[in-house]
Amino acid sequence: MAAAAGYFANLWRIGGLGPAQAPDAVTAILGSALTTLDGDPQTLAGFRGRVLIINYWATWCAPCREEIPLFVRLQREYGDKGVQFVGIAVDQADKVRDFAKEFQINYPLLIAGVEAVELSRQAGNKAGVLPYTLMLDRSGRIAASLVGGISEQRMRGELAPLL
């Protein structure tokens, strides 16, 4: 238990501590050009007004894969309370599609290049790594900036005040 707590505390620490207030970064992230799995252009702008949880990941990234089932469960649980998960995969669309099918991912997945991760550095992902999860409240402010894998307890703790 203590080891796990320390582990997550450590990840929290390396994440650059806390919700940096970088409204420009949020604007840039929400406006950045992404593509759907079918190759159509899309941005995140349409999700404004919801509690938006943006998860940067990839299928080749083992720590990223491990937390996907949690996101799927939370999306099912909180979807009707205005919570929206979005996965931004730095990956190939076909691999993401396979993976999404297997894990029955129930939230939108978009494809991005490394520049999306670059952009996330401004929001708090200082080293530019995966997985990285950015939580925005309904007004688009950064509520949490989480580098590395997230425990369920922590995720629920971060979500609760935003509902």
Binding site: W60, A127, L130
Partner: protein, 610 residues
Amino acid sequence: MILRWLAILFLLCAGAACAAEPKLLEPEKAFVFSARLAGPDTIEVRYAIARGYYMYRDKFRFTLEPAALARGAPQLPPGKIKKDEFFGATEVYRDEVRITLPISRDGQPERAVLTAVSQGCADVGVCYVPVEQKTELRLASTGSAAGDSGFGDDALSRLFSAPRAAVPSTGPAPAQGDDTLIAQLFHGEAWLLIISFFGFGLLLSFTPCVLPMVPILSGIIVGRGHKLTRAHGLLLSGIYVLGMAITYALAGVAAGLSGALLSAALQNPWVLGAFAAVFVVLALSMFGFYELQLPAALQSRLAGASSQLHGGHFAGVFAMGVLSALIVGPCVAAPLAGALLYISQSGNAVLGGTALFAMALGMGVPLLAVGASAGAVLPKVGPWMETVKRFFGVMLLAVAIYLVSPVIPVAVQMLAWAALLILTAIHLRAIDPLPPAARGFVRFSKGVGVIALVAGIAFLVGALSGGRDVLQPLSGLRGSAAEPGAPAPGVAFQRVASLAELDAAIAAAAGKTVMLDFYADWCVSCKEMERYTFTDSGVQARLAGMVKIQADVTAGTAEHQELLRRFRLFGPPGIVFFDPAGREIQGLRVIGFQPADKFVAVLDQALGVR
């Protein structure tokens, strides 16, 4: 002492969650890329991988400009097997990897641009996006001689420009030196360092070098004459030790400050090499090859000055302590210099001062005993003091190897450890016969010697047999048990790769129920089925009566596509059953992972269809 402490911290950091890991490195610092012309027709690419980070073997991509240069596939050394809960065994590199790219020099272009794409992760549980790095290589100047093994030692072929990461850093740069190997050692608990230095000092006090201090101190105490009480003696020797300790502390602060300047250079192989050389020089002096001392003239002047001081006043005793440190300092020069160098690498003046202060207090413990006993107790000189000295010598050599370990090949590092351990063992008389009347200590030291000998041999054998893991020197001898792709126990599938093969297999299985399993290496639930479901005894019992066919569609060839299309499957996972007549049992497909109990029910149903 220090080394054990080093080892402890090293082990902590090698583990998954290094509590001392300060922050994540930028990818180009976690995976330091360089490339050079290694021969007339090969380019060697090297990645120096920070501790706690690893790179995927199958994710490297290299492109050369002009493209005509490329000749054949890059030669990647075997990696270490990393177990992945979902994807099974993946091969990864740690510490360092050297990849050979064959090139064709037919066109004789003068320059080539190498673009390398790599992917890696950190043990703390994050991965980096693919990093693209470019370097320009000049090809013209290496017509004849192939480059030699070290990097940066062949002026003609060492022509790589600074690697430029495709991912520019926009965040604040990490503090200088934070990412150096040695600096990482100091993110541990400071008190551990301080206690280590105290113990280090205590050990130092048992070298012959501290003996000159005893007469000085005795002189002070005896100089007080008959009125001296034990408490007074202790107080005087305490002040004396304090004087000495503060002098050392100042030296520690100076070392820490200079380290702050040095730390930027500490990843440079030359700087590390120079430090290691100094440690070797110091070690040799501990083995008695020569003596390191202040010039005799200076020493005698200081000694003269100290005898001028009157011992009575506390200030005088204090000053005497300071002077003694200056006299005796050079006598314990080798380990002291080692300690100072070590401290200087922390770049932390406060820590350096405290550590050296603690060391001096450790050195002062016997002196305090002398004082408290009012001069009655004196340490006895003996050959065991030489043993302590040699012990320091071995430790200094070990630190030297440790220092250069990031910049030398693992094989060389293992050979160095082998040499050190075996020579130490011989020194401890590991293979000399024990006299029948040997006492406990002799037997003990022979035992330690034998352990060192065996460990040394293990390193030697490991290095020569291709083992490239300092923590598991013999891993090179391990069989292929850990090879990836081992089939799940119990379920032996007949493999098919095309429709024709499948039809033949189904035809051959006439009269039996057939299970067809679509599989791919990247398919997570296939792996899960293999691991959790197919291994179940109930599942296996039912499968025993079936013909098991597997279509491994990892490669995704046209024939694989055809197979999938026949069953209108997008891709694996997919399990299809056929009745004994060879017709698909409709409505019984299993798509995705199914736990053993559910799968058993499906199997029962399949077996029930006649």
